[in-house]
């Protein structure tokens, strides 16, 4: 197909589809008029039932926790997928070691960036940890915390210490942490099965105070494992992608 043909085919289809889709969207109850009942029921029962005051986390890790198992594995597959797809390049590096943009001058990392990044690493780690372990009380949880944890590793890179970055997060270890995170969640579910309960049943004591760090039973534990998995997956993905350019530059 020529570009013009493709565009006409698309525009014809898109015009029809857009009309059709808008026609359907106008059948919705209207913005601001959520009809329920699913969310309303959960809002009503979640706090009493799980002792978690962050209802979104309760949905993610308890009511619809099984979605999250699969979802976490999607991330897990993406991480090992990125290393699978990029693995060949690692063997090839010697052969293909040329800078993609030869004439370009790479300015050295400025001291300001370096110092600021190094200073931020500690607080970011703490922040990530805090988020991953407070799923039950605040709009946080393993996914958010894991991403922030991974950010602290990326700050390390930003500080110009890629080699340190590699040493701190060697791929095998990161990989293993990710696998433990992904498997840990699934294993918590299996533990419930071992206790004769349904898969992923919250079998830990819920604590006495809603919203306390120790409340909500398995929600906090699952959130922790998710944090591990997400952090490891993102570190793995980012370091695989960074490795593509950085080591080449180091050599030349």
């Amino acid at each position: 197909m020529t570009a013009a043909q493709r565009r006409w085919l698309f525009l014809a289809g898109a015009a029809g589809f857009a009309a059709f889709y808008l026609w359907g969207l106008t059948g919705l109850p209207g913005f601001g008029h959520y009809p329920g009942p699913y969310g309303d029921i959960i809002n009503r029962i979640a706090v009493a039932q799980t002792n978690a005051t962050g209802v979104v986390s309760a949905v993610n890790f308890e009511y619809r926790g099984f979605d999250t198992v699969a979802e976490e594995y999607i991330l897990f597959v993406a991480a090992i997928g990125v290393s699978t797809v990029l693995r060949q390049l690692r063997g090839e590096r010697e052969r293909a070691a040329r800078d993609e943009a030869v004439g370009r001058r790479v300015p050295p990392t400025s001291d300001a960036v370096r110092v600021l990044s190094l200073m931020l690493i500690g607080p970011t780690l703490v922040m990530g940890w805090f988020l991953a372990s407070h799923a039950q009380t605040s709009p946080s949880g393993g996914f958010q915390g894991g991403v922030v944890l991974a950010t602290s590793f990326i700050l390390l890179y930003l500080a110009g210490e890629f080699l340190v970055f590699e040493r701190v997060s060697p791929l095998d270890i990161t990989d293993a942490v990710g696998a433990v995170g992904a498997g840990g969640f699934a294993a918590i579910g299996i533990t419930a099965v071992g206790l004769g309960l349904a898969y992923l049943t919250n079998f830990l004591p819920l604590g006495s105070t809603p919203g306390a760090v120790s409340s909500s039973g398995t929600i906090a534990l699952i959130s922790f494992f998710v944090g591990l998995e997400v952090g490891a997956a993102f570190v793995l993905i980012v370091s695989e992608l960074l490795e593509q350019t950085l080591l080449l530059r180091h050599r030349s």
């Binding site: 913005f31 969310g39 962050g54 979802e71 993406a78």
Partner: protein
């Protein structure tokens, strides 16, 4: 303007699809795919919104305060994770494709056809 947010949904979807169809650069095309997915975030969160209701966090408010739907927020979170995973994968394909084909133009990545 009860329909307005949903018009945005259709618009974002259409723009993303247009981008995918006309794109001549893989990275751009992948970003357009993210745009397509963004329409689902707007749709999900738009559906769960209730006028005047609070966020579904009851740490410092009474439990029976009217709140928006927590379920669509959890779904949107899942959706975001899926997006991150797919994007990372597609980008790694793009890196390899660039190594193999020496180009990122989808029209020139034609090893297979017919």
């Amino acid at each position: 303007m009860q329909v307005f947010p949903f018009i945005v949904v259709a618009w974002v979807l259409a723009v993303g699809l247009y981008g995918i169809v006309t794109s001549r650069h893989l990275i751009h095309q992948i970003v357009c795919l993210i745009v397509v997915q963004s329409s689902t975030y707007v749709l999900l969160l738009g559906i769960g919104y209730r006028r005047g209701a609070v966020a579904p966090y009851f740490s410092d408010i009474p439990v029976h305060t009217p709140a928006v739907d927590p379920v669509v927020q959890a779904l949107a979170l899942t959706d975001v994770v899926v997006e991150a995973a797919v994007t990372a994968l597609l980008l790694s394909f793009a890196i390899q494709a660039h190594k193999r084909f020496g180009t990122l133009d989808p029209h020139e990545l034609v090893q297979l056809k017919g």
